[in-house]
């Protein structure tokens, strides 16, 4: 078990190091997220109550669109020099490889989201810090869901020529339950409301989504990688 986590951690560190050196996914996704936030702010009146009601939805649309740019690179960065083959041929299990990559993606996506939040607060005139720790919990849970689904499909589509197109087509429908929960929770938390009994239902949905899809991904990834 220790070896499993050590191998996963080596993959995570390697992926983060590669991304920090090339910055290709982070730069693209951050620029994209900021542009979309700016454009949405033109489309909706930031001072209206209606905009605040849909702010959670807007925010998660931005995170989902920009996040896919990060997830697309996850397995694609293994293609030059056939690095993926060396990883698959090594004693690293598919599950350890998946977990390592998912952790790296999670860290990158969380960084992206935390960088976007202040910009969102300014553009939409909202105080997103009122329920900061609860908001952070929701961000982490929903981002893990997005990461798990995205990393799995990134492995599945890595050898497709149209993988940049295929990944969002596959990921977004699968993400609907988690995105619905994240949007609902985020909207209320940004409005400064604490986690009520109704919101706990959505939070439980997020937790359940994460557990089910993490277990499924860990069980199936070996088949995906070898076939």
């Amino acid at each position: 078990m220790t070896e499993f986590f050590r191998q996963s951690l080596s993959i995570t560190v390697k992926d983060l190091r590669l991304e920090m050196r090339s910055k290709e996914a982070l730069n693209a996704s951050l620029s994209f997220a900021l542009v979309i936030l700016l454009l949405f702010s033109f489309a909706f009146d930031p001072s209206s109550e209606h905009t605040r009601e849909i702010s959670g939805g807007l925010l998660w649309l931005v995170f989902a669109f920009a996040g896919v740019l990060v997830l697309n690179r996850s397995f694609a960065r293994e293609l030059p020099n056939d690095c993926l083959e060396a990883l698959v041929a090594s004693p690293v299990s598919g599950a350890a490889l998946f977990l390592g990559k998912a952790l790296a993606n999670f860290i990158l996506l969380m960084a992206l989201e935390l960088l976007c939040l202040p910009v969102f607060g300014i553009f939409y005139n909202v105080n997103w810090t009122a329920q900061f720790w609860n908001l952070l919990l929701v961000l982490a849970l929903a981002t893990w869901g997005l990461t798990v689904i995205g990393t799995t499909f990134s492995a599945l589509t890595v050898n497709l020529r149209l993988r940049e197109l295929m990944l969002p087509v596959l990921v977004y429908p699968m993400m609907i339950p988690a995105l619905m929960a994240a949007m609902e929770l985020t909207t209320h938390l940004i409005a400064g409301q604490p986690l009520s009994a109704d919101l706990w239902l959505w939070l439980r949905l997020l937790i359940g989504f994460d557990i089910i899809f993490t277990a499924l991904a860990l069980a199936l990834i070996e088949v995906v990688l070898v076939s």
């Binding site: 070896e3 050590r6 191998q7 080596s10 993959i11 390697k14 190091r17 590669l18 050196r21 090339s22 030059p80 020099n81 056939d82 690095c83 083959e85 060396a86 990883l87 698959v88 041929a89 090594s90 004693p91 690293v92 299990s93 070996e222 070898v226 076939s227």
Partner: protein
Amino acid sequence: MNVVTANGLWKFFGDYPALRDINFEVESGACHAVLGRNGAGKTTLLRILAGLSKATRGDVRILGGDIRHPDTRRRIGILGHGIAIYDELSAIENLRLFARLYGLPHPDRSAQEWLELTGLKHVSDGLVREFSRGMRQRLAIARAFIHTPDVLLLDEPFTALDDRAMAVLQNLLRRELNRGCTVLMSTHQIREAMELATHAVLINRGRLAYAGLRTAEMLSDPNWLYKNYGDS
């Protein structure tokens, strides 16, 4: 003891049979040169043996175990068509990564040793993207050998090597064979391969045409096997 056993291997790409009923065994410490024209099925065979592809039919055992089992993979070294090293990492970071993935007790020391052995010590902190082709190839050799494997699967290892990388590879292969390592290498560089090989395997259009000892005739005439067992 047989280190590699292939029983009735078939591989189809669509309707096309890339491998047709391949049966052969490799004894411990042997060096098999796998020969064949382009498209004969050499790479497909090595990919199946390496666990990178699944045979449509048939069974492969390596070191008596399932190739996809981590304990089996830990004892296999693979050098494929791609160099399988990261351009944005330094030479030492690449080797340290693979040393860790293979569970070596001292990743940093192993990485340093292999940089020394492949003559890359002076560029250990340089990013691979800044390396020449020959340096990248030597690093790929170090990556494949770093965990002292019991079985080496090499897919056209001599192709496009510069003279220095060629010498490094030949010396290391001799060293590994002396240690008792079993080697399977597909190649078009017959002369270089035959100097090291104890056995030869010839594949013609997915079929095994010859599998046996490397004879003196094969060493003196690199085309002997094609002339006597190859299809026209």
